[in-house]
Symmetry: C2
Subunit: 424 residues, 2 copies
Amino acid sequence: MDFLNEVTSRYPEAVSFAPGRPHEQFFEGVDPGRLIRRYQDHLRATGATPREAQRRVLQYGAAAGIINDLLARALGREQGLEVIGEDLVVTVGAQEGIFLSLLVLSGPERGPVLVTDPCYVGASGAARLLGLDLVAVAAHEGASAPRADALREVVAGLRRDGRPPRVLYTIPDFANPGGYTMTVGERRELIAAAGELGLLIIEDSPYVFTAPRDERVPTLKALDDPADPRVIHIGTFAKTGLPGARVGYVVADQRVTGPAGESTLAAQIATAKSMVTLNTSPIGQAVVGGLLLELEEQDRLPGEDRGAFYRASLAHLLSALDAQLGQHPRLRDRVRWNRPDGGFFVVVTCDFPVPEELLEVSGRDFGVLWTPMSHFSLDDDPTVRRRLRLACSYLSEQQIDIGVERLARFLAWAAAGAQGTADV
Amino acid sequence: MDFLNEVTSRYPEAVSFAPGRPHEQFFEGVDPGRLIRRYQDHLRATGATPREAQRRVLQYGAAAGIINDLLARALGREQGLEVIGEDLVVTVGAQEGIFLSLLVLSGPERGPVLVTDPCYVGASGAARLLGLDLVAVAAHEGASAPRADALREVVAGLRRDGRPPRVLYTIPDFANPGGYTMTVGERRELIAAAGELGLLIIEDSPYVFTAPRDERVPTLKALDDPADPRVIHIGTFAKTGLPGARVGYVVADQRVTGPAGESTLAAQIATAKSMVTLNTSPIGQAVVGGLLLELEEQDRLPGEDRGAFYRASLAHLLSALDAQLGQHPRLRDRVRWNRPDGGFFVVVTCDFPVPEELLEVSGRDFGVLWTPMSHFSLDDDPTVRRRLRLACSYLSEQQIDIGVERLARFLAWAAAGAQGTADV
C-alpha cells in the first residue's frame, strides 16, 4: 500500500483506477456541523437536556458506541435484522471491525484465519499484523466466494495438523477484488458448513448498497440462525455516508462465556476495543447519527441514493473496456475481464505480465494507475502477475474514458514485451 | 474496567471519583461545526480550493494524519520540539498511540514491556491484549517513575533469560495513578540508561498541561538526543481539547530500516495503523485543527486555559481529605495519601483493606465511587488491596466536598472491619 500511495502521489495527473474511494460529488454541500446538530436535536427530542446532548458528543463515551440504537433500527430496515444495541459495536470504520474481530476470534491459541485468495488487503494485512496465518479456501471457478465442500476439506486438514481454525473472513457481495456475489444457495450452504464445523464467519459488507433495493441478495447475517448464530456482520458508512467520519460497526450477537461471565461477543469485542482505541469518536458517530436520522425520515436506506451512480460508473467502465481493449488489434485476444453486477471493481487478466514493477512506467509514461493483484494475493502464484484491479468509484465517466484509453496503450506496450521505453 | 463502568452506571446518584474525564464546563458553547469551518478556512487561506478543503475533511486521508503540520508547530511552541509532520502519526486518542507503539516496538520476537507498578491500565491492558509480558522496574520510594539503576538490573536479568526487552512505558508528569513527576535529573538519567541499553522509551504525556507554563519540567522528548533519539512521545487532546474528537498523536522521529527501506518509526507506526483503523477521523482531526489554529492566534498552549481549574480542583480535594480524613477520629492514624502538584489523581493508602469487592457497598450504601488500585497493579500484592485512586477532574468543588464526606464515612466503616451492613 505504501508503494501504491507513493507512486500515486508522484503522478497526480495520471487517471487513477487504484483507490476504491467514494466519488466526491457526494460531498458537495455536506456540512458535518449540521449533521451533528441534527443528532443533538434528536437527543433533546428524546429526553436529553442540552447539557447531556453536548456531553454525549464531546465527552468520552462507551467503548461499544453511542449510536447503537439508531444503527440497530437501520439494520432492521435494511436487512430485516432483529438486533438490539447491545449486539453492536461501533468501530473506527470497517477496518477496526475486521481487526478487532480477528483479534478476539483468533483466541489465545491464535489459530489460522480462513479466507479466499485473492483476499481484501485490509483483512489479510490485519491478520498478518496480528501474527495470524492465512489459509485459503478454494472458490468456484470464476467466483471469489469460498466453496462449502472446500471449507470442510481445509478445516479437516488443519485439524489433523493440530491447527484448528475458528474463523472465516469473506465479502459475499461484489467482493473486493474478485467482484463475485454469492447466491442465496451458496450462502445457506456456507452457514450450514460453519455450523457443522463450529466456525464463525466474518461477513464484510461494504458494497451491498450498490445493488438496487429489490435485487439485493440477503446478507449472510440475514440468513443466519438466531438460535445458533454463525455470522459476525461488519458494515461501514465510508461508502454510503462519509469516509471522514470513520464509522463502521460489528454485529456480534453470539452468546459467549468469558472471564467476566456470560455476555455477547459484541461486549467482548468492545472490551478489546477499549484497549485499542477506547471508543469511536463520538463526534464522528454524531455525524453518522444525523445521516441515519435523515435517511429514516426520507424512508431511504444507507447509500440508496448512490447505488445508481456507481452502477452507471461500473457499466461505463465495462463498455469502455469492451470498446478500447475488446476491439484493440493487439489486445483483444490477450486480455479479458470479469463483469460484476455491482461494487467498485473490475479485474483484468492478461496473457502477459503486468506486475507491480510496471506501475511506475504506467503512471509516468502512460498517465494511468491501477492496483497490482499481488496486493490481494496470499502467495507468489505467477498468474497473479498477469492481473490488475480497476476501481471506478472515484472517477467521472470522462475520466474513465480517458483512463481506459491510456490503459489500452499501456497494456499494448506491456503485451509487446515491455521492452525499451514507451511509445507514447 | 467493565466492572467499574457497570457499578458506576448502577449508582448514578453517587459522587464518582472514578473517571479521569475532563470537566464538562469546558464543553459549554463549544460548536464542533465551527471548529471544522475554522480549519477549512485555514486550508483555503493556504491555497486549497473549496472542493479540496471539503475533500480533506470528508474523504479518506493519509494513515499518518492530516493535521501533522499544525501539530508539529504546536509541539514546537509547547515543548521546543523541532519535529516535522513526517515524524508524527495522528492516532485515535493516546490509547491507539500506546497500542500501536507497543505493537510495532515489541517486534516479531514479542519481548516483554517494561513498566512501573502500578501502571496506567490503558498501557498494561494494551500489552496484555497483544499477548506481551509486563515486567516492573522499581521506582524511587514514594515515586512512580522508573529508577535508572533498577532499569539496568531488570534488563540485564531479562537478557540472561533470553527475553531482551525493547521498550519501557512511563508517564513522567503527574503519573496516572502514582501522581509523581520526574525531576530533570531523573529524566536525563533515564534517557542515558535507555541509550546504553538500546531501549526505546514510550513517554505518555496527558497531564503536563496541568502545570503552570513556567513551572513545567521539560518532557523526556525535549531532553532527548536528536542524534540518537530514545523517546517516543505520546500526547492527546482529550484533556486539553475535546475527548469526543478522539485525537492523539505519536512523535517517533527514530530512523529505522524495514522491509520497504529506511524510514521513520512514525512511518512504520502509520503502516501498522492502516491495518488497525486505516486513519484517524479527518472530521475529528479538523475539530482539533480548528482548536490549534485558535490557540496559535491567542498565543496559548493546549490546555493552558484549564490548568488553573484542575490545580484548584486538586488543591480542593487535598484540603477536603485533610479536613475529613486527617481530622477523623477513626481514620486520622490509619489513612494517608500522596500530594501531587498536578494531574487528576490522588492515591489513598489505608492500613485496612478497601478492595474492589467493597466498591458495590461504597456506591450503594455510602453514595461514593472510586477506582480500586488493583486495576493498575501487575500482580496480586496484598498491599494493593489497601489503596484506592481518587480523580477530581470531573467534579465541582461542591461535589468534591460531598464526595469526601461520604468517602470518610465509607472508610470509617471499612476501617471498623467491613462487618454487617453500613451504618449510614
